[in-house]
Amino acid sequence: MSDQKVEIIDEVTVRFAGDSGDGMQLAGSQFTNNTALAGHDLSTLPDYPAEIRAPAGTVFGVSGFQIHYSSSEIKTPGDAPDVLVAMNPAALKVNLPELKSSATIIVNTSSFDNKHLKLAGYENNPLEDDTLKGYNVIHVPMTQLTQDALEKVAISTKERERSKNFFALGLTFWLFSRDLTPTLDWIDAKFDGKPKLQEANKRALRAGYHFGEMKEIFSTRYVVEKAKLKKGKYRNVSGNEATALGFVAAAMKAKLELFLGSYPITPASEILQELSALKRFGVKTFQAEDEIAAICATIGASFTGALAITTTSGPGLALKTEATGLGVMTELPLVIVDVQRGGPSTGLPTKTEQADLLQALYGRNGEAPVCVLAAATPADCFYMAIEASRFALKYMTPVILLTDGYLANGSEPFRIPDESEIPEFPVEFRTDPKDFQPYARDINLSRPWAVPGTKGLEHRLGGLEKSHIYGNVSHVPENHEFMVRLREEKIMNIRQDIPDLEVVYDQDADVLVLTWGSSFGAATEAIRRIRKSGKKIAHAHLRYIFPTPKNMKDVLERFKTVVIPELNLGQLARVIRSEFLIEPKQINKVQGLPFKAIEIETELNKILGEQ
């Protein structure tokens, strides 16, 4: 055994990067599982290559997975990695600019041959010139070592090569003083029935670990202590998973069946995929011929009494616009999830952005108000899916739930709520034919939900203006104005159910940071750092965008300066200006990438300096 020293650190950010075919997502997710089981708080972010597989070895084909974990609460997958595992030259090239200045880089030297260097666009071998000056570079011929370790396993050379991700994982585990057992168990389970693959991957994992132990290549090993998480059962969830689970939970709470009409689109497809596998919960998933059919089928299902939802991304939301208006007019409950991605048009389909807010709020013909919500973190998607469902059902209205590519693919530990933690909101269908009128109103201004098959409640809905109470087609001018205002008022009534906007940190600060959606994480981290530096600052996060919380105006008026960081050119800022007539300062980024905490920190410090 060597005399390498062990250092205890608070948190660390590790990135695995290699070619699409190198199994980096697998390595990353196994590292994540192991980390979770080790009791840390964590946040992860995969970085897929832009949507087409590129020729192997090129920079276009680089696939990455980043994990940030810590002994205390964590909000982002980390700004800049402390450790990079680079499986080939292209992975090094792509990720180098992202690293901390003193980062450790573990390179798979086996792949730094002329061919791969050229594919990556390196003229000289970066391992041999000044490129990596200042970094702590660890040379490991991983492919070779894996081949050696698996010599005795009766599989092909190609199959042996494939196990090199487990070698890399093992080596990284050693570096962070981790227990291999959960991962070994996972391999056994995953490759059940394929003993040779079990054998190969376990050997590779151990070989990596032992390589760390035996060779004097690292001067230090690290240990991150357990995080003090709230007591309970946990699992890791990505935003898309959490969204899917949230809707199933909502259906249980509403005592309805869940119907999803959807058309695949990056980065929303996983919600459809997850729900397609949950048929045992009675979930009905309909993969439609297009987004229009998807939402129309959803409207049909809603008419007949399902908790009916449709999921998409920006271009798909654009296509659902007209039918959303039908949802508004027929006053049927409906949730539309928009997992935002880089726009306009096809834009940057695999990248994240927050630029569909105005479309969600205003992108319909006529006066067609709908409720708009936005989730803050991957796990929050679960709760916001339930909120969206609750509002849709209670107020008989379409609700748009905004998430984004970053939330969708990123993951974090999710404390599994007990069934009793979430209140029920059972739906009452109208069944009594006595005095039934399809457009009569309850105290919330909601109309009754009377589903086909119910005797005596036969009625017709549709997109033409409806007469108050009776629901017949009406061209009466005054009725139209009345109904337009009534629909608006009904949506405003949702305020009753919206919690107050909470201001955290320094209530007496001059500056309030107002965030929405996935900027929550980076902003929280930035604010933590700023407060650590002794400055005062407050934070409020807006989950309920339309209508806004009742106390919103009061909150905004309490602060000298409101700052809105968002991944667009200032869409929430525009809404705030038009709703509250205050001029917020803006921090904008439109690069297809989430905010880094440092970016928000830097801008906030500038603004604080100006105060």
């Binding site: 309909f286 229009i292 599994i416 036969e458 017709r460």
Partner: protein, 343 residues
Amino acid sequence: MSDKRVDVPELTPKDFQSSQEVKWCAGCGDYSILAQVQRTLPTLGIPKEKFVWISGIGCSSRFPYYMDTFGMHGIHGRAAAIATGVKLNRPDLAVWVATGDGDLLSIGGNHFIHSCRKNIDLKIILFNNRIYGLTKGQFSPTSELGKKTKTSPYGTTEYPFNPLSLAIGSGATLVARAIDRDPKFLKDMIDKIAQHRGLAFLEVFQNCSIFNDGTYANLTDKETKDDAVVKLEHGKPMIFGKERNKGIRVEGMTPHVVDLDEGDYSADDLWVHDETDECIARAAILSHIEDRPGFPTPVGVFRSIRKKTYDEMFREQIDAAHAKGGGDSFADLLEAKNVWEVN
């Protein structure tokens, strides 16, 4: 629709008339379709509340307002998609679609062909007046080549769709045709689609008395109709003509019109209609037969085959998953994957 017919109190056409005043133009063929539907539904043994009528936008798409059933007047072109959601969520309902040639075949073409392909159990009635009625007279995808309309003052330059051919090519399991001016036959066809399990498509030649009056005159005028129309009957030879002295014979794949009076051929030599033929060749020939000089236009059931429906298979999967157990608790939902505990 469900094939278990339940005992229902006797229904009458009147039970299917809503309180809304019917607002089509005088002489519009839509009235006839409404009347025959209202006459047919009470005979099906299905409780009234189990019917759902879905439509898009167009004169024809006002249909649901006039039916005292559940219904939705949707948005233009999307009736089949809305109906699909209704049927998938509630397979026990009898889901009917009323639509026009613009609604179904122009803007709604995609949903139509996908519904046909999936063989979802919908009854689709196409009110084909070969014109956009509601928007006051632009050509539609079934308007004849060269037709002058408001948007084609020089005549259209488009070949029309053959709706039956399109439905057959898309995989529909029942395709049929009727004419508004032959109410008895129309009622038979409505009954036929009602009885079918799977996607049933009925094209009705419908006269728009305002913007396309007389487009089917040849098929409805007393003097010409018997020679211009042949009624298809399953298992029967194809005979037509005022004197029922003409027949259709098929040699190889080529149909001929023959004169039964001339003595060369008798009814036994004629093409015997087989609506259940799995092969689409017959239906394909029939759907285009009127393009051949001297041939009549067929009405009736062109094709009717039984294939498992989409909604049946959809339901079975869910039932099977249900039967395996689980699917009822938060724990089952949320703890299925890699759970750890923090104490």
